[in-house]
């Protein structure tokens, strides 16, 4: 027999489920993999050459300073063509993508990002020879972007 109390408990639980898809972590991981595949194609992404500089502990996810520097001579024959930044746990994985060339002189960019939740931030550099290099930093966010209405 279903008592009133049990019925209310069940209805509250199903209402909470209706707001978010149950496997949101998995969906975001798929979106990230898809976004990276779009940039990289079938090429292999190796760790190294890229230095992603971002604070490991973030008080306020609404404004997170980050910079990406890539080791490269930036000559006509050997330069960085593009730098892409992704996050693991935002509603969308993209943060920023820039296109550079030998006229940049040095492969270093900086910006300020919104980070939604504790997770990885990934920078991928595309070289002129077609290879891809990356750097991943795990960050801890205490105050998420997206949620804090009054603070934006």
């Amino acid at each position: 027999m279903i008592t009133r109390r049990v019925f209310l408990l069940f209805s509250a639980a199903s209402a909470a489920h209706a707001q978010l898809p149950p496997n949101i972590g998995e969906l975001r991981k798929q979106a990230l993999d898809e976004a990276i595949r779009k940039v990289v194609g079938g090429a292999e992404v190796r760790a190294g050459k890229v230095k992603l500089d971002i604070p490991p502990l973030i008080d306020n996810g609404n404004t997170v300073p980050l910079s990406v520097e890539v080791e490269s001579p930036m000559s006509a024959a050997d330069h960085v063509k593009a730098i892409h930044v992704f996050t693991e746990r935002n509603p969308q994985p993209y943060v920023l993508s820039v296109q550079l060339g030998p006229r940049a002189g040095r492969a270093r960019i900086a910006t300020r990002a919104r980070i939604g939740d504790t997770g990885a931030v990934i920078a991928i550099a595309q070289m002129s020879d077609g290879s891809f290099w990356s750097d991943t930093v795990k960050v801890i966010v205490t105050l998420s972007a997206c949620l804090e209405e009054g603070l934006i």
């Binding site: 820039v98 550079l100 040095r106 990002a113 919104r114």
Partner: protein, 106 residues
Amino acid sequence: MARVVVNLPAEAKKGEVIEIRTLAGHAMETGFRRTQLGELIPRDIIRSLVCTYNGVEVFRAELHPAVAANPLVTFTTVATESGTLEFRWTGDNGYSASHTASIKVV
């Protein structure tokens, strides 16, 4: 009127790598926030920033909602010749802003 700020040296040696910092005043509304009544606030962001040096494109950035409000983008370029650098931001709802700065190369 859109407000933008660009910071770069007024004078540089030929071949020197100069750092350019750009800042545009914009809320970068993500499209994921809701009002107190639960209505979704539509997305309104700056989508791209392009820098041309004497008419030649030297830098292009594509921005997404995960870039913080008042987007700051810092990059570098080689001072090749005296002239002007033009910066152009474009975004949702017909947003467009531009700025020109001149540089003297000695």
